[in-house]
Symmetry: none
Subunit: 428 residues, 2 copies
């Protein structure tokens, strides 16, 4: 063996959303991964290292968001910002550590005996220009409260994201939205959910914003017109799902010293990737279901590999999760086989001596459960001249015998970086 | 596959106390679990998922208390309250988060040169009505010190549990009891063991209580009579083993959202279960040794399953631990076989398509060690249509190849909840 300067490599991480399963009675108690014909995926397992990964910890059922956070190398318990910030990013907000964001509805209230009673939590499912115009009015009227900057971002239909930016905020506050089953109930006062100055202050600011939103919206021309047309006015915002971007959240580049790029079929993942400072896109042809043009997704991933200096390209295929939720085990097998073709395309068009390939999932979605489960997911990682274990196939039972053993998903990125020769040492 | 609403299931967790072992020379270097004939236990292993679990962390020897805390899903390092609170619960105290409890002895002291010298740490092993009457006198005289409520609970013979209830207490204090080998030494002053206001305050309160106990007891009629009868007076209490119920301890129901029920052969486990808000009982026929009517225990467990809405029933069999401490490997094999019969009885009388079964232990008690060891314990979990690994038998060597891999025992309850479809998601 000749002595050469140590080369560094780049990597693909293929994320088969919800691909892990349990034995399917109709498949003679095999899983879709055990039944699917997937020579390329199995090649990575056969020529690499395999194992099982708990997304969060054993038995805990992950969401797509917490699962991907772990795949991207961030401890979910520590860095999960909650739904508010993820929806705000989806609505176009640019969030920073310390920002508190909430999910809001444009809603309809009536004054009765001095109280604001919720008549419709969705203001007759207001949408389009009406909603946008009202959100614009809110942004013009409510820019800052008690030194905290306030932003409203219109989202789908009656949904609005609210962002608070300033020092000393807390997400530990209650909802003003009384919830689905509670129409006819008054708007709830926001109260602190922990004994801290930050929570008290944030609750106070929100109560002011909610009151102000009513003042701004109740006589707004859009609402006057809506009432004339027999529609419900959207005369208040109701808040829920407060979350904060962790103060110590570092970007992917800062955390791992490499550039990540995310090609995904789902907004939540794009939002999460952007929160971590990665470039992210939903490629053309991606429909997020079993009809998705999986090969087109692979072609775009290859293009990113060839035209950018990205170190790790994450490629997300949504179909297996959809099939799991639908208990569509045959559909799950087919989408796994499609993903396999796509992975084969990338294997053929990249140099295996310079590339690391990993196969993983963000959680299991067993057909029998029709929801995410806490079952660990199989992982396979192959790099140039990496260790090779005895496992021949990528599935739930085979990978349990792999040399990676049982790991936590947050360990995956460091394992990949190590094979890329991009890992800094801890110690000397 | 037909569309059905997602079913939820209930579970049995069989705890074979101390069942893990090391190779026994007299068994041709097999363990009791490897030698015992246990078709029902092995069925659960064969049709389910297996692994090894460290009770606390690798190599750490657990007690019955810390082991069970982990089985119940509570991190022992975080939630172990110490012996004081466990003995207090055993003596009938109802403890709350923040309570500090201590083990006490009724003891005999003599004044010499203005010091209180310990003559007998157990006051001549005082017991029965004498002890009860003296504890009653303490409770009447010492109800509150510096705003902290004080309770004495008589326990076995000379033993008393002391409970302090109030804000700002700490268990980080020294013992007033000078210890077994130190008779003839003075009662020790209680000092804070950490630099905190709470520890200083708690030490001060205890010194007052100890002094007061002498004032209350020294001339008590019971003691005057005892001296006349030539017995040692119980004229003071000596304290040790302070522990605090963690402030953030949640009940099992609050923590996991399901109801647990504990059927056990030992007071410590009952106390722990009650501290976690679970119903708990020592069933009829349970003797906590090799003579125990194990089938009767199983029958009671089945009755609880059939007549209550309990979600998880923990069934504890003490015998294997007793046999391990006695190096009685044949006895250990026999009690394992008895437990297997009991488990078979429950398998036959419950619906496997609606029930999760788990086999575990609270620690290993190898015959060769005659004490608890840090060896991990085998676990097997079987649920309706769960994943199935290749392991055929429940023992220390076979389960090392299981797909659960090496887990920590606190992960067991979440894994069971996942199979029960009772687990909430983290994320969306």
């Amino acid at each position: 063996m000749k002595w050469k300067p140590i080369e560094t490599y780049r990597a693909f991480v293929f994320i088969l959303d919800g691909v892990g399963d349990r034995p399917v009675p109709e498949l003679n108690f095999r899983t879709p991964l055990e039944v699917a014909r997937k020579p390329n995926i199995d090649y990575i397992a056969r020529m690499g290292m395999t194992g099982l990964a708990d997304m969060i910890e054993p038995g805990i059922r992950p969401g797509t968001d917490t699962g991907h956070l772990a795949i991207f190398g961030y401890e979910p318990y520590k860095y999960y910002p909650g739904r508010g910030p993820l929806e705000a990013i989806g609505a176009g907000a640019k969030l920073k550590p310390g920002d508190v964001a909430l999910r809001c509805n444009l809603a309809t209230v009536e004054e009765r005996n001095g109280k604001l009673i919720v008549v419709d939590r969705r203001a007759g499912r207001i949408k389009g220009k009406d909603a946008e115009e009202l959100v614009r009015a809110l942004n013009e009227a409510i820019k800052e409260i008690d030194g905290v900057k306030v932003e409203f971002h219109p989202a789908t239909a009656h949904r609005v994201a609210l962002v608070l930016r300033g020092k000393g905020l807390s997400p530990k506050i209650s909802n003003s939205d009384p919830g689905t089953a509670k129409e006819g109930n008054p708007v709830r006062e926001v109260v602190p959910l922990e004994d801290s100055e930050e929570a008290r202050r944030t609750a106070e600011i929100l109560n002011k914003i909610i009151k102000l939103s009513y003042d701004v919206l109740k006589d707004h021309p859009v609402n006057k017109r809506r009432v004339k047309e027999g529609k419900l006015p959207a005369n208040i915002i109701l808040t829920r799902g407060a979350g904060m971007v962790p103060l110590d959240l570092k970007s992917f580049k800062e955390r791992f010293g490499v550039k990540g790029y995310v090609i995904a079929e789902e907004d939540t993942i794009i939002g999460l990737a952007k929160l971590l400072g990665m470039e992210a896109e939903i490629p053309e042809g991606a429909t997020g279901d079993l009809e998705s043009d999986v090969i087109a997704i692979g072609k775009r991933a290859l293009e990113v590999y060839e035209t950018t200096d990205t170190d790790i390209i994450f490629v997300h295929i949504k179909g297996p999760d959809i099939a799991g939720h639908d208990a569509d085990y045959l559909g799950k097998i087919q989408i796994i086989e499609k993903a396999d073709e796509m992975i084969g395309y990338i294997l053929r068009n990249t140099d295996e001596n310079k590339t690391v390939y990993a196969i993983t999932a963000d959680h299991s979605t067993p057909c029998i459960v029709r929801d995410h489960s806490g079952d660990p997911v199989p992982i396979a990682v192959k790099g140039p001249k990496c260790r090779i274990d005895k496992v021949q196939r990528y599935d739930e039972v085979s990978c349990a015998e792999g040399m990676l053993g049982k790991i936590r998903m947050v360990n995956l990125v460091p394992i990949i970086l190590d094979l890329m020769n991009k890992r800094l040492k801890f110690g000397e």
